[in-house]
Structures are given as C-alpha cells and as structure tokens.
Subunit: 109 residues, 2 copies
Amino acid sequence: MATTISKDQPVVTLINTFTVAPERQEELVNLLVEATENVMKHLPGFVSANIHRGLDGRHVANYAQWRSREAFEAMLRNPEAQAHMGPIAAMAQFDPVLYVVADDITVVS
Amino acid sequence: MATTISKDQPVVTLINTFTVAPERQEELVNLLVEATENVMKHLPGFVSANIHRGLDGRHVANYAQWRSREAFEAMLRNPEAQAHMGPIAAMAQFDPVLYVVADDITVVS
C-alpha cells in the first residue's frame, strides 16, 4: 500500500532531513529502514515512512506519517526506538520537524 | 488526485524546507501555493507539490515530485518561476534537496 499525501488525511507528518558523509549515506538509509521495519511500524499510531536518498550523496530524508502528535511523541520516549536512533544520531546531523499538509496540488498526467 | 509516494514511481522528489519568522509563516504558505498553482503546475514534468505547515510555527516544507531532474532544473531556469521565487527567497531561508525514494514502509490500518 503506497503512502498518500493529502490535506484531508488525519495524520501529522514528520519530515526529518539528515546530512551525512557521502561514504555513509547507504548505511544511513539501511539503518533508517531497519529501525522502521523492526520498531517504528509496530508502535501505536504509525502510518507510514518513506526513506529518501539524496541525489547529492550527502542527504537522506524520512517522510513519515503518524496518527497524531501524541503518538509521535510517545515513539520518541520509547526505549527501543531510542536504541535504534542512537547510532543514527552518531553518524548524521538531523533536523526533525512535524507538519500538517496545508495544500496539495497535482496534475493529472 | 492525491500524491502517491512509492519507490516504484518514476519521479524525482524535491524536499525544500523553509525557516521563516512565525508571523510570516502563513504568508509563505500562501506564496508557495500561488507559485505552484500559477506557474509550476503548468511547466513540463511537474507531477505534484504538497505545501506543509510546521506545527512549530517556524517551518514550511514543500514536498514536490517532478518527472526528471532535467524537468526540475529547467523550472529553476524559467523566468516566470524565478519571479515567483524572488519574494519567497527574501522572506525565508530554504534548503532544497532532490531525492529518490529508497524504501517505502506502510501499515494497513
């Protein structure tokens, strides 16, 4: 099931952008996928995560949807989630921000 | 038509995160929506844009899909697009990065 972005979705969106050394970009992608598969997706309120590889080699982004801000914040306090985030925080700078979708614009192709 | 995120989509993804004074956040959201509706969506290769309002009041993000890196770069050179981006650049710091989707993880709710 693919992720859908729409201002009508009942979710909050985490956009977390990571800056990483190019030689470790792939490792960071793999750690984020593992953390999502092993921990995050089993927590209450998880909806989706999409791990993105920057074409510049130096960035990775996680576009993740949670049912509510409370569910996201509970994840941050979860010891298992924290254990998975430790090695990630050690290898990359990151800047997590929570959003809601203000407007969605698409073209029919 | 809602935006779909999937690693099987033939798109490149721009994630552009803006930092803005809280009292101008709504104005920035409106300028990005206008630029998208009036210019971007009519350019070749535009697929979708989703404008996000940060819950912290200080961020705005644009999650936009283009058919190719070449289509995105042609937009950057378009004088009409540049005219719309001028006022936006004057009121916010921003950090545009192009990505591909490395992995997509969702739960069936």
